[in-house]
Amino acid sequence: MNRLTPLLLTLAAFLTLGTQVYAQDWIRTGTGLGVEKIRLAVPDFKAAANDADSKRLTTAFSVTLWNDLQAAGIFDMVSPSFYPVSQPGTPQDVNLAQWSDPPPNANMLAFGNAVAQGGSLAVQGWLYDVKNPQSPQVLGKQYRESASEDNAKLIAHRFADEIIFRLGGGIQGIAESKIYFVSNRSGTKEIWQMDYDGANQKQLTHVSTMALSPHVSPDGSRVAFSGVSNAEWQILMYSLELNRQVTFPRYQGANLSPAWSSDGKQLAFSSSRSGDAEIYAADVAGGELRRLTTSKGPDVSPTWNPKTNAQIAWVSGRTGLPQIYTMASDGTNVVRMTDQGYAVSPSWAPNGQFLAFAWIRNYGPGAPGASDIYVMDVASKQWVQLTHDGGRNDFPSWSPDGRHIVFQSNRSGRTQIWSMLADGSQVRQLTNSGESTQPNWSFK
């Protein structure tokens, strides 16, 4: 038997070598292979019928789809001037090589057709991996809505979100998210609402004194804000379902800057009920009030870590100029994040990894202080400056996908709401009239 052992071992080795890879689909990949944005080509959708209605709606659809995908921040949009002459409307029309080779040199191709018939708009859309001729289709979708321009845009938003969800690593698109902000265009500062791209702006509150720092609840049903009521700053609550103000307990002193936890169960805010502005947390009904900070100097602008709800970042003036701090949600483990200048308005990224805030790094007489938006990696305290030489920038707020930041800036003259990708690129102005400040991006 002993003599046979080596032979058996050899045989066993052969067998295992032969079989082990048959078991399961494997991906083998790694770093250092180059990470770049996906080059996405989106030719205009083809109007499947020749009537004016179809053409108009198809154009509206194509424009919205292009804008959504470009705004997503994960694609390198191939310029239309590189596209082949023939416009594909169905999979039969697509010549993969035309798209995958230079000049388009695209990785992905979104195409399709739309037709308005009998009062309804039907859209067929495909997403093709053009570098993979064996099985190019990634996505095929069909939509039908009643024919209107709004619906054409809605379908475009949905198709764009579907593409972003597929190619963006499972993160939902933001095409249907909202931004809440303060504007004085109606005379007094009130809370307003708009779509993520600046469309559909409408006034929510009518407190007629002053309303500031809106913060929408994670389920999108309420907006908490601070407003002057009976000559005192109070946390006020506006219900988006009832379209009116609802009650929230009133505390002594000035109560400012409410912030929801991402589970929707708690509200943090600053209150000077004890004389000095400190951070408090309460449940949604205003009960179980807990004081979290105790040091001298103002403590304001709390923001929860939305990933865990176990941490709060806020602004404290305990050492003089305001700086960003973090603490556990019970007030322990205080860590100072910024080391100099004047740092305010923190906003915690949805993935819990980053803080965005406004920072005047060189503050004081003689220092050319510009207020800019910065992002800091919470664990390592590495930071990156996102805005450069563009007026006074403040109040950043993260988008639900963590790829965008909305902020206020006076770079165009008056203070308005702007949005950008979280790397500082693709800066877009969202509001134009009056003065608009303190934007807050909804949780979804």
Partner: protein, 264 residues
């Protein structure tokens, strides 16, 4: 056998050993000749540019390329990509300063020893004007690798699947690309011991279930540097989801072998 108290009691069986040895050797010979036919676990790797030495392109963030990507391309002709793959010249290893020449025996004098040590300078502090934790503007964005790192599916590097048993890589190359991108983005190199400048490749195995969550993360082959292994595992743990597996894929999960090349 009882009679001879030989120290080689099995001498008579040498013929069978010879035969066994012959078989074993011929088997080894056959393995050497036809071994390439055996599908191997590591195989050639997808992406193909292995060993190209191009700079690692993990950005700081999940989902946002931080800091800014490359500056706007000035040249609008042909291709908006800068081509990217500027390979770094390989650093020649510096000579270790610890080798102090041993003086000849007769040259040894008292007193010299102290002066030798007294001369020794403390390690130089590299003065940095910029705070260390700032990432320079415009650096660290997407680097390296032409866009067609997986041109024409299975053939030209990219995502060819070895052996041809599974077809996930062929059919869903884009998904593989997402996995690669997302892991690279979530790998924070600052978690690695700063004294390490070069390390062996660390292999991490994990599964992606249908809903896209990475599960069962484990170190398949350590780099020998715990902090590097740990940072690689953490990169995976940081990821909630890669997005659902492609609808056209019938399996319940897909296994991934992901390697991390660390170079500072």
């Amino acid at each position: 056998m009882a009679a001879d108290a030989d120290i080689f009691p099995e001498e008579h069986s040498s013929r069978i050993s010879w035969a066994g040895s012959l078989m074993l050797h011929s088997a080894l010979f056959a393995l050497a000749l036809f071994g390439y036919l055996i599908p191997s676990g590591r195989g050639e790797n997808w992406g193909g540019t292995e060993g190209g030495g191009s700079a690692m392109s993990a950005t700081l963030v999940s989902s946002i390329p931080l800091p800014n990507a490359q500056p706007e391309a000035q040249n609008v002709l042909a291709n908006e990509s800068k081509g990217l793959s500027q390979s770094q010249p390989r650093e020649t290893p510096k000579e270790e300063p610890k080798a102090i020449p041993i003086p000849a025996r007769d040259a040894k004098l008292k007193g010299q020893r102290e002066s030798a040590t007294a001369k020794k300078e403390p390690p130089k502090q590299v003065a940095k004007a910029e705070p260390e934790n700032v990432v320079p503007y415009g650096q660290g964005g997407p680097v390296s690798g032409p866009y067609g790192s997986f041109t024409s599916g299975a053939t030209k590097g990219g995502f060819g699947f070895e052996g041809g048993q599974g077809d996930f890589g062929n059919r869903f190359a884009y998904y593989v690309d997402i996995v690669r991108r997302k892991v690279s983005e979530n790998w924070l190199k600052y978690e690695v011991d700063p004294r390490i400048t070069d390390a062996r490749r660390v292999y991490i195995d994990f599964d992606i279930n249908r809903s896209g969550q990475p599960t069962n993360v484990r170190v398949a082959q350590s780099s020998g540097i715990p902090s590097l292994d740990q940072s690689a595992v953490r990169a995976l743990q940081r990821i909630d989801t890669f997005g659902p597996l492609p609808a056209g894929y019938s399996g319940n999960y897909v296994s991934v072998e992901f390697w991390f090349d660390y170079r500072r």
